[in-house]
């Protein structure tokens, strides 16, 4: 390598610039090729991606992508619910309420989602008591199932004005299990 102090040609190696700043010297040397190419590739990517987006129509807008995607998921969810409802009736839920495995699962779901409003002993609180003789929306397990899945009806006044949210996000299977759990704790819930 040539001596940077005497070298004048950057193609041959680093050139030490004449100027110093408070004793600080500077080399002048070529930019590393890999660095340059990283930069060039990013610029090319910008141009190509933008063209794909706004000139070719090959990339769909986010709003369309997500709406189409969620529509597909909703179809699967709907099919699942229908399949479940075809086999689910008061009788099944009562049977489930005597199944130890299901009850253990139902209890966990109850604790995580329901206990805050309906109390550890189903005695109620923010929400209605579930250990009552007569439940507000009916004593049949399937009536309970529907209320949990869909929440208080739109025209309901609520319990002391407080209305329950829909628990669709749990899915029908978990809702059924938690209903079975509640039914196991209240003998008045029956067919």
């Amino acid at each position: 390598m040539t001596d940077p102090r005497t070298n004048k040609d950057i193609n041959k190696g680093p050139v030490l610039r004449e100027h110093t700043f408070d004793g600080i010297e500077e080399y002048d040397q070529k930019l590393p090729n890999w660095w340059l190419f990283t930069f060039y590739i990013a610029i090319v990517l910008y141009i190509v991606y933008w063209l794909l987006m706004y000139s070719t129509g090959l990339i769909k807008p986010d709003s369309q992508v997500i709406d189409e995607h969620m529509a597909k998921i909703e179809q699967v969810q709907k099919a699942e619910l229908e399949a479940m409802l075809a086999n689910l009736d008061d009788q099944t839920l009562i049977t489930w309420s005597q199944n130890g495995g299901i009850l253990a699962e139902g209890e966990e779901i109850y604790k995580a989602n329901c206990l805050a409003c309906h109390g550890a002993g189903l005695e109620g609180g923010i929400g209605r008591p579930l250990n009552a003789d007569k439940l507000h929306y009916g004593n049949k397990p399937m009536e309970l199932f529907n209320i949990v899945l869909n929440g208080s009806p739109a025209d309901a006044v609520g319990y002391n004005g407080q209305k329950m949210q829909a628990w669709k996000q749990l899915g029908p299977d978990k809702v059924a299990k938690v209903v079975a759990f509640v039914a196991s704790k209240n003998d008045n819930i029956k067919e």
């Binding site: 610039r17 700043f21 500077e26 002048d28 604790k111 923010i126 929400g127 002391n160 949210q165």
Partner: protein
């Protein structure tokens, strides 16, 4: 301070101002990091929010987190930056700072700002925008101090005795100009009282302006000044020449121009128009190389001095700091890719990322600089540099810091990625989320949060050792001011008038200008015309490259001329740094307004809800809760339909958030009963076992400030929120009426009142009606009113046949599908 003999003068530098800033930075570093460790512990141990009490409003996470970020950025790094700039600028200009009084105003003014922040932020006085929380009177003080700094700096450049501007000074120029621009625009507010104001931008506009500011606060407050400091102190400490002059030119201008555009990467997959998201992502990727240019010029300067890495703690800190800079600037573009961002955004990954920058880059560069400076600022009796009190202690600091950072960022990667994967996991059939309860995901990251606190504690310990080491060095040394014998340059060497023409009317500037103009037209012009603009831009760029090859020497000479002329240089920086923001913000402000939004528009807050919203902001809820459902499956499944631009268009400030320590609240309104919120605010764990949210018992004790509402609503009207003209009585009546209704519902559902509430208030001693009347005045009622309103909107008819709009490139795509 200078003695002249012939054409040489002896200059005494003003190093006492450097000593002041260095000490202030050391003290504030410990404060900022201590607050950081406290708020970190609050996230795994909620009791830390009250220090044993049910709740202490001044020290909750929501109020202290802004104090931590502001202290770390503006107090610690701010003071460190001033110390570095004041030290190196004088030496690089071979001139004392232009005016000692301005330097002192800068110092004491800045410390007053810090003191103001320490007082106001815990009190809950905030603008509700991240890193821009300080209230408007303090904003004005910040601007005044910054102007004083700028005047002092540029005046010194003007009086300099060194014709050439060294690269460190370019970075200081970019810092001063750009921070002023960012700070002023993002702090434009309409005051409603001495301590409260609303930002003039709302909704998506405010989001864009905020992250243009937020991102570039990182760029121009935490990066460019520190790069300047690196360019001065690193070759000094290593005794080696800077690696490459031309690399410094290329990466400086690329950084200044490109950085500004990348702000929208903080808003990926949100309701921000997609063209802005594309710019944010793609410019972030283009930013990778320019950032690494700085790292290369730092690290490769150490070539031939690697042996010092073993012996000299200064070099250790600099080398590790620059390496962390390289790591963070690689990670940043990665996180700006929209699909990666799905995981990193709103989770701890982002928190880890920013700390690899602040702890690794800023903290270590600061430590290296302190250790280098201290023996020189407090030297031996004869004025020569003394020695650092303990090298072993500095080495211990280095290892504590390194292990601390690695623990911190490692645990945040694990936590962020784990939580994001849990949040998006579904059952096998893909019909339901696997973890429906947000809290489950929080519980599983708790161990990582403990590791983070441990890492932070190690890092803090390191800085305490640093402070002790520096204070002992000071004790053993004597304050010394640097002196320099300077040969005065000839008048025609300095800031030549010929420079002006040469600087602006030449090929590089002309070509850059037109290439940028046509690239901008490419973004906005309608289909086909846009591609033509791109073709012209590429043609011009190719021609410029060809010219560069041909007239290489001429272009080099031009740059040397530019270096000798600080005014044209500064003007070019203004243009380069100003463009990106202008091209993004102006169209958004013109096109995305309440009057022009499509699909949905937000329902206006009633006066009480507005008061509740201001309580939400005061308590800093936005630090942990977003209000933005992204166009992503994971978000839509968990929180409901994705957020439209119009749903938050009247929010001054916007509340999209940047982190989900708790769940998103965009569709919280009407979801749960009032009493749920009442119980939850007073004791989150009564509702959600294992919740890490602080309790807010004072909301039941403090009365809602409804008297401020008329002036607040008046201000919002002035800002374009379409409130009808209401007089003071109508506003107060409406607020009282709504509050009574909510209070009545709560009392009817048998709420429990905390025992330590004021005596006249306890149920039993007053009638139910009196209880309702009293309860209605409390902040909790206004807050519930607000929470129950979040997400309320009106559906609008969609005009599918609308023609593409010039200022909205997204309309060039296929027509948007109507909302089902």
């Amino acid at each position: 301070m200078k003695t002249q003999t012939g054409n040489t003068v002896t200059i005494e530098y003003d190093d006492s101002i450097v000593r002041l800033f260095l000490l202030a930075s050391l003290i504030t570093s410990v404060v900022a990091m201590l607050v950081g460790v406290i708020i970190s512990s609050q996230l795994h141990t909620w009791q830390m929010n009250g220090l044993g009490t049910a709740g202490l409003e001044w020290i909750t996470f929501g109020r202290l987190r802004p104090l931590h970020t502001n202290a770390a950025i503006f107090a610690f790094v701010g003071n460190m930056m001033f110390a570095g700039v004041y030290y190196s600028t004088q030496r690089l200009c071979k001139a004392r700072m232009a005016n000692d009084v301005l330097s002192r105003i800068n110092f004491w003014g800045w410390q007053t700002v810090i003191l103001g922040a320490i007082i106001t932020l815990p009190l809950g006085l905030t603008r509700g925008k991240e890193y821009a929380e300080l209230i408007w009177p303090i904003n004005i003080l910040v601007v005044l101090v910054w102007v004083v700094f700028a005047v002092n700096f540029f005046w010194t450049l003007h009086k300099r005795n060194e014709p050439h501007l060294y690269v460190a000074l370019w970075f200081y120029i970019a810092t001063i100009i750009t921070v002023a621009m960012l700070y002023i625009v993002n702090h434009l507010s309409l005051p409603t009282s001495l301590t409260h104001s609303y930002p003039i931008f709302g909704g998506v506009q405010d989001a864009l302006v905020q992250w243009w500011y937020g991102h570039n606060a990182v760029a121009f407050f935490l990066t460019t000044p520190i790069l300047g400091i690196m360019y001065y102190f690193m070759p000094k400490a290593a005794g080696r020449p800077v690696y490459s002059y031309r690399l410094s030119i290329i990466h400086f201008w690329a950084l200044v121009f490109i950085y500004i555009w990348a702000g929208p990467h903080h808003l990926l997959n949100t309701a921000l128009p997609q063209w802005l998201q594309m710019l944010g992502m793609l410019f972030s990727l283009m930013l990778w190389a320019p950032s690494w240019g700085g790292m290369l010029n730092g690290l490769l300067t150490l070539r031939g001095a690697w042996d010092k890495l073993r012996t000299d703690p200064v070099i250790k800190f600099f080398a590790a700091g620059v390496t962390f800079y390289g790591m963070a600037t690689f990670e940043g573009p990665l996180m700006a890719i929209r699909s990666v961002n799905e995981i990193s955004h709103y989770t701890d990954w982002t928190i880890g990322h920013v700390h690899s920058g602040t702890l690794g880059w800023n903290g270590f560069m600061a430590a290296g600089m302190f250790y280098w400076m201290a023996p020189r600022l407090w030297g031996k009796k004869d004025g020569s540099p003394s020695k650092l009190w303990s090298t072993a202690m500095a080495n211990t600091h280095f290892w504590l810091g390194t292990v601390g950072i690695l623990l911190y960022i490692g645990s945040m990667w694990a936590s962020g990625i784990l939580q994001a994967l849990m949040l998006s996991a579904t059952n096998e059939a893909g019909t339901q989320l696997k973890y429906t309860d947000f809290l489950e995901t929080v519980q599983s990251i708790l161990p990582m949060l403990w590791f983070r606190t441990a890492g932070g504690l190690l890092y803090l310990t390191g800085f305490i050792l640093c402070a002790i080491n520096i204070f002992m060095t000071i004790k053993n040394g004597k304050a010394v001011n640097g002196t320099k014998e300077v040969v005065l340059p000839e008048a025609d060497e300095m800031d030549t008038k010929a420079g002006w023409k040469a600087v602006f009317r030449n090929d590089p500037v002309t070509y850059s200008f037109w290439v940028i103009v046509f690239l901008t037209l490419w973004i906005f012009l309608p289909s086909y015309a846009d591609v033509a603009a791109l073709a012209i831009a590429l043609g011009l760029a190719a021609q410029a490259c060809w010219l560069f090859k041909k007239r290489h020497q001429e272009w080099s000479n031009l740059y040397e001329t530019l270096e000798k002329n600080w005014v044209p240089f500064t003007l070019l920086v203004v243009v380069a740094a100003g463009l990106g923001g202008a091209i993004q913000i102006i169209p958004t402000v013109l096109a995305n307004k309440g009057a022009t939004v499509e699909e949905r528009v937000q329902k206006l807050y009633t006066p009480l809800e507005l008061a509740g919203r201001d309580i939400y902001i005061t308590e800093g809820c936005y630090n942990c809760h977003s209000q933005m459902i992204r166009t992503l499956e994971t978000d839509v499944r968990r929180y409901g339909d994705w957020s439209r631009i119009g749903e938050s268009i009247y929010n001054h400030p916007f509340q999209w958030g940047s982190k989900r320590t708790g769940p998103d609240l965009a569709r919280e309104g009407g979801l749960r009963p009032d009493k749920w919120h009442y119980d939850h605010m007073l004791d989150p764990r009564a509702i959600s076992e294992g919740s890490i949210m602080p309790a807010y018992p004072w909301l039941l004790k403090k009365e809602t400030d409804i008297d401020a509402l008329p002036s607040k609503i008046g201000a919002l009207r002035d800002l374009g929120v379409p409130y009808p003209a209401l007089n003071k009585h109508e506003i107060l009546d409406s607020a009282q009426h709504q509050a009574l209704k909510i209070a009545k519902g709560l009392v009817a559902s048998n709420i429990t009142l905390p025992e330590d509430l004021d005596e006249s208030f306890t149920a039993g001693s007053i009638s139910e009606n009196e209880l309702v009347q009293k309860l209605a005045q409390r902040e909790i009622i206004a807050l519930i009113a607000y929470l129950q309103k979040i997400g309320a909107h009106i559906d609008l008819e969609v005009d599918e046949s609308a023609a593409p709009k010039l200022l909205n490139p997204d309309t060039k795509q296929q027509p948007r599908v109507a909302n089902q």
